[in-house]
Amino acid sequence: MSDVIDIDAIGEGQVAVMDQLPSGEIPAESPLHHLDSTVPTFTSKPAGVRLWEEALKGHLVLRGNAEDPTFQRGVEAALGMALPERLRSVQQGPLSLRWIAPDEWLLVCPGDQAAALEIRLRRHLSGHFAVVNVSGGQTLIHLAGPDAAMVLKKSCPYDLHEHNFPIGKVVTTVLAKTQATLCKIAADQWELVVRRSFADYAWRWLVDASAEYGLIGDTPATAAQRRASTGRHPVSSET
């Protein structure tokens, strides 16, 4: 792998940058890959709720000073989009950038682009900042449908009313006895970022809370995504 990424050139010995994807065809298993066998994912009623994992995406935590114009410009140059406002999300093609804290953002990208984007960011940023690959540590769960809001009301203490939670808003809050970063991505659809080790609990909780509304917990396509060969695609030298 060092033939593609020159770690020393990127991190200049200051930080260890690492492409963490295998170069061969090696199966990756999402935090919810085991679900098919252990958690019922269908109920019989017409579905008021749909629930699926958007598995094996690239997740990068970006830290920096939002007030610093150099940092702002660097992010924009690297990602083609400006930092989102407080509690907001921005989207650029397959990339989304979510506000997490005044000095923290979450960049979600296609699974094979995490390393390339980390390198891009590091090339465009200077001074005090950090980029951390957390792709293995969390996953995305989508909750959609006319009763999705009811399921979230059973799970989260945050006010989900559209006045308070418009499309594009991002909120990290309590989800049952764990936590999630919620982003409203359409009128009846939320994306939840949950930590890997809590994903099973979060999923079971949501399935349970959805039961009375009727649930489609998976489609063969979304289930298949959980266990996929995600061999690394070579990082082009332009990135």
């Binding site: 991190g11 010995g13 293995g136």
Partner: protein
């Protein structure tokens, strides 16, 4: 039995839908819309329970939440048992099974009644107080009888068949109570566009409108009620919750609503639906329209079945089409009470007399009474009820103007129902929950909500406004005000016109005088549920309990499940009279959540069974399950504890795992270790401040063990931190300490040293971590990794390297918690299971053995490695652990813990210190937690030297090993200490070095 008391028409029940139910083993009939109470009254059931202390028969008194007697156990099956249900709030459904909770030993068989006198003597006022003051044994003797008799009901003995859930809600305006005030408040607020929740505890919204005689806009209130509900139902931003009790008002306008979603439908909830739901509501503004409870008057034998609240009698007649008897005597201190006589007469039954305690009441109510030809007895009171199992008559006497004494001869009127109205007590309960004390108002003879810091408005009877017109008007005002304060534009709503009779002044009478003084008079009950009498309250004040809060605790008044809704004000009045004080002078009584009892199911919600607490899994978890691992809870993590083979005991499995690791190779899933990514130019400086040892010179590619202390110098976590780059470190923490350590680092960064340029991010879940340990671990790794030079001198102990393991990019750390040659392989968690399985494919020939936390503990204990939190307890500093090598005192910055370790007590020579312990008998394993003493024969209390912190049987050493804290232990090597056991035996152990195996550390350096 037929419904002998059912009127042929009227009421809001559905006569087309008859329903059969069971009470106390007998079948009864009723109609949909009946409560258990209305249906039992319809069937002529008078006695529904026996009193707690005296075993006296008790009947239904009220028609709402304030009912003290008809408290039932519900449920047709063991799994559907519900205790503490008020019959007045439980609707009947086909097949409902109920029984009294206070009927022991049986409603018909009056054992308790016979024993009442004796038992009553056993339970004088102050019983609880004295019981808790005097030896515990007294309580133990009586507790089970008292509990059984006390009518507390019981919880199911098998898991609940139903589910319960929670719903978090936010609203602009929460209106509590859907009577006339609450409905108008909700309507007014809804019209502004504000989000409104209107909650009412009854099955049907309407409150007093459901039985009111008044007219709204010239018609029975039903039309206004219907129109209002229809309009509210049309608003998407309005929720009307029925069977939903707002039972708690907490800080910052957080309220809980206990909604019974299917208790009225069947014994079990419909499939997939929650039986009850707890709404957790954050309201911008709250309008309390909780109404008022009528006060019964206190008189002799006022607890006989047939004695009822006047308004309850009206409710049963008008709302349920049930007249509870044939002949009514009504006693009232106010005009409103007259309505019950009118309602009774309208139902076609005889009103024997209206007994008005006022000397000369005159107004529209008296006019109507005369016009109806009712017998009106003014300046009189019912001083005593007559009857054995139920009311058969009323003893009536003239009383003086302030109700202090009987002024003339008595006469007895035959009757079967004795209704009384002593006026109204505003339902101030919720307003009290957040600490606001209610305020007495002489003009309404009651307490109203006091000052509050909550965003709360009040409307209607809860604020002492009893006229229907007033309630509607106040409701509208409060609704608009709440919505405007919540940021919505005012929308004027006109109040409807009301026709109602004007009421005259009421009399402040609580306890009716008797011919005899209170202590000699027939029992005058104040609190039915706890059997507290007027005489008991007087006794309490004579014994010196002057504050009403003390009187309550001494007599147990208000301590029942009804919290004294009926009795508290009467009790205060009696205490005040007995001390020649005013009611407010005796103090105020406040109420606490919950307003009415709430099931544990509703409190727990879905946080039960497998969803009780998160179970955290590592990426390799499915493999552990497949391979028969037993799991241990470490925080919320499920960690493999050990992997027994078929037929193996735990000890056999541990022995095998330990030997395999030391002899060839073992593997541990270490993914749960906390991992914190640290980046920034000041990362190194920061580490130097939070760890006790030095970090200034740790080179890239190197790892170091560190101890983390609090400012007090005591160890609170430890772990290995690796230098990934000049400005990049990976810190590991204990599995249980990960979140705490991250918060600790952030705390110091954000509050003390914000100038340091460093970022912390958790990567605990991102990396799957597998630790291979044992002499063959290098060989195994070499088979799967060809891009790291594994030579002992190229990849040394406490180095880390980046490479590829089984085709997956990995960071490999040559660190060891076992003392063996060991490599910790970290790969992105999505590939953890793959790499783990590849290790087993190649490891079979080395007998690669998975081991769990227990073997990990044994192996590290053989080496004397500590576990923070097990061998430390928050009172142990690094020197106590013999780890001075991990403290670098001459660092330029005074690191956290340095100053703490220098306090006088911390530098004493004879502190408790961590040492090894070898039992004299090598087969005996010391129990962890056992206390050491010097002399096992010393009389108790013995001088304790410290406790055993870690103790195991080591197969590798063929003996037990232990570590423990011993006072002055470092100076006592070779000494013998004794561990007395609970069975009287004593374990003898020798103090030794905690490093039992390979003291020079040669095994890990091969």
């Amino acid at each position: 039995m037929t419904q002998i008391n059912r009127l042929s028409s009227g009421g809001r029940i559905d006569r087309e839908t008859p329903i059969r139910f069971v009470f106390n083993g007998r079948h009864y009939g009723g109609y949909r819309g009946d409560t258990l109470a209305s249906a039992l009254l319809a069937n002529g059931v008078k006695v529904v329970g026996r009193s707690f202390k005296y075993g006296r028969p008790r009947g239904i008194v009220a028609a709402g939440a304030e009912e003290p007697n008809a408290i039932f156990q519900l449920g047709a099956e063991e799994s559907t048992q519900v205790p503490n249900v008020r019959a007045t709030q439980q609707e009947i459904f086909e097949g409902l099974v109920s029984r009294p909770t206070s009927g022991w030993p049986g409603l018909g068989f009056d054992l308790m009644g016979a024993a009442g006198k004796l038992f009553g003597r056993m339970l004088p006022p102050g019983f609880y107080y004295k019981t808790f003051m005097f030896p515990q044994s007294f309580w133990e003797v009586y507790e089970k009888y008292i509990r059984k008799a006390a009518g507390l009901g019981r919880s199911p003995r098998v898991p609940d068949a139903d589910i319960y859930d929670h719903l978090n809600q936010h609203t602009d305006v929460l209106v509590v109570g859907a009577g006339p005030a609450g409905l108008s408040a909700a309507l007014a607020a809804a019209r502004t566009g504000a989000r409104v929740i209107l909650a009412d505890e009854q099955a049907e919204p309407g409150g007093s409108l459901l039985y009111s005689r008044d007219l709204i806009d010239g018609e029975a209130p039903d039309r206004w009620l219907h129109n209002t509900l229809t309009e509210l139902a049309g608003y998407e931003h309005v929720q009307v919750l029925t069977r939903a009790t707002v039972n708690g008002y907490h800080d910052h306008n957080f309220l809980t609503i206990h909604e019974r979603r299917s208790d009225h439908l069947s014994d079990r909830a419909p499939e997939g639906q929650a039986r009850q739901r707890m709404h957790r509501v954050r309201a911008h503004w709250v309008v309390l329209a909780t109404g008022a409870h009528e006060r019964p008057l206190v008189f002799g034998h006022n607890d006989l079945p047939g004695c009822m609240l006047a308004s309850a009698v009206s409710t049963y007649i008008r709302q349920y089409g049930v007249v509870p008897g044939r002949r009514l005597v009504l006693m009232t201190t106010n005009d409103y009470g007259y309505r019950t006589a009118f309602d009774w007469q309208d139902s076609g039954h005889e009103v024997v007399a209206v007994v008005d305690t006022r000397q000369n009441p005159e107004g529209p109510y008296q006019e109507e009474a005369r016009a109806r030809g009712l017998t009106l007895m003014r300046g009189c009171a019912v001083i005593e009820a007559k009857g054995g199992q139920q009311v058969t008559g009323a003893v009536i006497a003239p009383i003086d103007a302030d109700g202090g004494r009987v002024t003339g001869a008595t006469r007895v009127l035959a009757c079967d129902t004795l209704a009384s109205s002593g006026g109204w007590s505003p339902a101030v309960h919720l307003s009290c929950h957040t600490g606001s004390r209610p305020v007495w108002r002489d003009d309404i003879i009651g307490f109203v909500p006091g000052e509050t810091v909550q965003r709360q408005l009040v409307a209607g009877a809860v604020d002492g406004t009893y006229s229907l017109a007033g309630c509607l008007r106040e409701g509208l005002r409060a609704g608009v005000e709440a919505a405007v304060k919540a940021g919505y534009p005012s929308v004027p709503t006109a109040a409807p016109k009301v026709n109602e009779l004007t009421e005259g002044e009421a009399m402040a009478l609580f306890c009716v005088p008797h011919l005899k003084r209170t202590s000699r008079a027939p029992k005058q009950f104040v609190d039915f549920q706890t059997d507290v009498t007027a005489a008991a309250i007087e006794l309490a004040t004579r014994e010196g309990f002057e504050s009403i809060e003390h009187v309550k605790r001494y007599t147990a008044m208000g301590f029942g499940t009804d919290q004294g809704k009926l009795g508290n004000i009467n009790g205060m009045a009696i205490a005040a009279r007995s001390m020649n004080k005013t009611i407010p002078e005796t103090g105020t009584t406040v109420f606490r959540p919950n307003y009415t009892p709430v099931t544990f199911g509703a409190i727990a919600g879905r946080h039960c069974d497998e969803l009780f607490d998160p179970k955290r899994y590592t990426a390799m978890h499915p493999w552990h399950v497949e391979h028969g691992a037993k799991f241990e809870d470490v925080g919320q993590w499920k960690r493999p504890w050990y992997y027994p083979k078929p037929g193996e005991t735990m000890q056999q499995a541990l022995d095998r795992e330990c030997r395999a690791t030391r002899e060839s190779i073992g593997i541990l899933d270490a993914s749960t270790l906390g991992k914190i990514d640290i980046q920034g130019k000041d990362a190194r400086e920061f580490l130097g401040r939070v760890y006790t040892n030095a970090w200034a010179k740790l080179a890239v590619g190197k790892c170091r063990y560190g101890l983390m202390c609090g400012e007090d110098g005591m160890v609170f976590d430890d772990g290995v931190t690796s230098c990934l780059g000049e400005q990049h470190f990976l810190m590991t923490t204990t599995s249980g300490g990960a979140a705490r350590v991250l918060e600790w680092l952030e705390f110091y960064h954000q509050t003390e040293w914000p100038e340091l340029e460093v970022y912390f991010n958790t990567v605990t879940d991102h990396w799957a971590t597998m630790s291979i340990a044992g002499p063959n671990s290098r060989k195994l790794l070499a088979e799967l990794c060809d891009d790291i030079d594994l030579d002992r001198d190229a990849f040394r102990f406490m180095d880390w390297r980046q490479g590829t393991v089984a085709g997956v990019p990995a960071r490999v750390f040559r660190i060891s918690f076992t003392g063996e040659l060991s490599f910790e392989i970290n790969v992105q968690a999505n590939y953890g299971l793959y790499v783990w399985e590849k290790l087993f494919e190649h490891g079979a020939k080395y007998n690669l053995t998975p081991y769990g936390t227990e073997t990990m503990h044994i192996l590290r204990a053989e080496k004397g490695f500590i576990i923070a939190g097990q061998d430390t307890d928050g009172a142990v500093h690094p020197y106590d652990l013999g780890m001075s090598w991990a403290v670098k005192e001459d660092k330029p910055f005074s690191f956290i813990g340095k100053r703490g370790m220098k306090r006088a007590d911390c530098v004493r020579e004879d502190r408790k210190q961590l040492v090894g312990l070898k039992t004299r008998n090598p087969k005996v394993v010391l129990p962890e937690g056992a206390q050491a003493v010097n002399d096992p024969n010393q009389p108790k209390p013995m001088t304790m030297l410290g406790h055993v912190t870690s103790s195991y049987y080591s197969a590798n050493l063929g003996r037990s090993i232990a570590m423990g804290l011993i006072r002055d232990g470092f100076n006592r090597m070779g000494d013998t200490v004794y561990y007395p056991q609970t069975d009287g035996s004593v374990i003898e152990a020798e103090i030794c070095s905690p490093i039992f195996l390979d003291p020079k550390g040669e095994r890990q350096n091969v």
